[in-house]
Amino acid sequence: YTVENELVVSAAASLTNAFKELGKKFESEKGVKVVFNFAASNNLLQQIEKGAPADVFASADEATVKKGVDSKALLGESVKIFVSNSLVMVVPTDSQLGLTSTQQLTGDTVKKIGIGSDNVPAGRYATESLTTDKLIDILKPKFIYADSVRQVLDYVQKAEVDAGFVYASDALVAKDKVKVVATLGNHTPILYPIAIVTDSQQKDLAEAFINLVRSEEGLKILTTFGFSKPDTK
């Protein structure tokens, strides 16, 4: 069950704005309609594993794609890293605490910190970074776990938390409400993989789309939305 001349792309919600642009470009170039399905990466994989008719899967983290490859839902040889992201610390624009680094979060003035839960890639990266910096044990009692990066942003915007960890691309979306005060290091590179779905009937088209995403032009669009070029090793 696949409609001819239609490409179904399941993409992580954080890619929504950028991929809509890319889709328009692909449609005008190939004359093929791109149908997007945006949701959290793991939900998308669950759909694909249960037989949802997607052609391309663009995930926000490598673990999800690896799971898909292991379960043979995704074509292992098609997996490509197409973009990278960075993890930043944001505070409300009107924050009076003068925070400029993760170290300062240990201070008494900081009561609550928004962070993604273990299900959220951003949360895992943040935990990893803070663990390496040996801050995690001190900060843990202050954590408010959220189930998406969006939620962390909301908490920061509404000043419910004093600081939060989100992707640079997300911070950009809300740039008038939150301010980026630090970029976190010491974590596995945040790489976005893209892959072809095993059951896809239009693997050629899928590949063409992936190529567009990875092209110079594609990358240019992605960078305007806060993503960066992956250092392909």
Binding site: S10, N17, P53
Partner: protein, 226 residues
């Protein structure tokens, strides 16, 4: 906020109305059938079955969607069967949204209908029988109209719930603009994209549409004269 109006795509609205109406219709029929069954029969474990049938209320919609996917997906037993024999799937199309919404909202009709049916005085049904009406006629002409107030309340809740359904729909039908993106998914999308003003406008539209439909329904369908 007003600049957001221009961004609005009206397709999700029609889709939502279509999906919610059909889902409500299905929920209505299933809910009434089950409600009548449980109101008028006695069997062991009836209350357990009743509670079991309300479970779609208690599961987080995303989780419910996950299970629906397991059943209706290509690899699910029902989904596989449908695909093989009829080359039909409801994953990633609006039929899926209808199923998800109907499953989530039928308990509302069912519970209200059961209570309403149980509240119907048996005298009226008895007299109808002596007037030569068979079981179906008694149901359609007496039991159902007398239970209507409660059923209608449940159905209106079901419609609201179906319009707002989001978690299960997202899983089963996907969040595909112009195909399965209902208003609530569009709201989700707008929120995800950080477009708060669009989200506000969409919520406003959803609310207005829902209120309008409910008010019209209550005008048209309510029997105030008795």
């Amino acid at each position: 906020m007003f600049s957001a109006w221009s961004e609005i795509d009206w397709l999700p609205l029609w889709l939502t109305l279509k999906v919610a109406s059909i889902a409500t219709l299905i929920a209505f029929m299933i809910g009434i059938a089950l409600g009548y069954l449980l109101a008028r029969t006695q069997f062991w474990g009836k209350e357990v079955l009743d509670a079991f049938l309300t479970l779609p209320m208690v599961l987080p919609p995303t989780v419910l969607g996950f299970y629906l996917l397991t059943i209706f997906g290509k690899k699910g037993w029902l989904g596989g069967f449908l695909l093989e024999h009829f080359n039909y799937t409801l994953i990633f199309n609006w039929h899926g949204a209808v199923i998800a919404s109907a499953v989530v909202s039928y308990p509302l009709v069912f519970k209200s209908a059961r209570a309403a049916f149980e509240g119907v005085d048996a005298n009226f049904e008895n007299v109808a029988k002596t007037l030569g009406q068979n079981r179906i006629a008694v149901f359609l002409r007496v039991t159902f109209p007398l239970a209507w107030r409660g059923i209608l309340a449940g159905t209106m809740l079901a419609f609201a719930r179906a319009m707002g359904e989001f978690g299960a729909t997202l899983m089963v039908a996907g969040n595909i603009p112009e195909r399965t993106q209902t208003l609530s998914l569009a709201v989700y999308d707008a929120v995800q994209a950080g477009n708060d003003s669009l989200a506000n406008v969409l919520v406003l539209i959803t609310s207005i549409v829902c209120i309008t439909v409910l008010v019209i329904a209550s005008r048209l369908l309510k029997s105030n004269h008795w």
